[in-house]
């Protein structure tokens, strides 16, 4: 699955990083708690979150994540967008809620990574 596929599945709008949407995504993580995201390293991952602050981008950066999806139509401010651009992380938002967004991606084959529970 690519970042572009995620955008289509979630009917999401790309906010920034359009040039990186051909990147492969292997796993996903949905959380508003950044320490929970930091607890499990995954490769080539996408982060779905309802939290909007610069720490979302920093967390994704530390984890080498390729894309952040803001759920429930949340809109990041200019500082967050600039930070994501400097880290080559794609930002998008969708009007879907967290559960639905995660469910749609799971249904299309995306998994949570190597945590032994699936």
């Amino acid at each position: 699955m690519t970042v572009r596929d995620i955008q289509e599945i979630l009917h999401a709008t790309v906010i920034s990083g359009e040039e990186h949407t051909d990147r492969e995504v292997h796993t996903a993580c949905g959380s508003d708690m950044m320490s929970d995201v930091l607890a499990f390293v995954k490769d080539q991952s996408v982060l779905l979150t309802g939290l909007v602050n610069p720490q979302v981008v920093r967390t994704a950066d530390m984890m080498d994540m390729v894309c952040i999806v803001f759920v429930r139509g949340k809109q990041p401010d200019e500082a967050i967008v600039r930070l994501a651009e400097s880290r080559d992380i794609v930002l998008m938002n969708t009007n879907l809620r967290m559960f639905t967004a995660c469910g749609l991606l799971y249904d299309r084959g995306l998994r949570g990574g190597n945590d032994g529970n699936e």
């Binding site: 708690m33 950044m34 320490s35 930091l38 607890a39 390293v41 720490q55 530390m62």
Partner: protein, 142 residues
Amino acid sequence: MAMSDEIRLRFEISGDDFTRAGEASSSVKKELKKLGIDPQAVRKVAIAMYEGEINMVIHANGGAIDVVIHPDCIDMILKDNGPGIENVALAMQEGYSTAPDNVRSLGFGAGMGLPNMKKYTDEMQIETERGVGTTVTMKVHI
């Protein structure tokens, strides 16, 4: 090992601006990448230091972080003059947090900071004294 083999970095962490928390860890990550250090090790250092940096801002009104890059390992020394940790054993438990509610609304304070720091490092020591401060020392092998 000769002293010249080391690279030392020092960061002063401001305690009053949560939005800037993580800038030091981000700089270290970039520097380690530039040095061509194994990406897995880079990620471990970045995550552990980031959690520590966040803790400093949330709990201790900032502090200082020293990073020493050796040929075979990376040391991180995080020192603050905050309130100290009352019960280290409890603080090391996943899910235990003393962070105020407003911190949770920022995405932290889930009680995973110290456990994550231990998880991603090969060695970790905590020295803490109530009312004096806390020093966390972490090592990641390359």
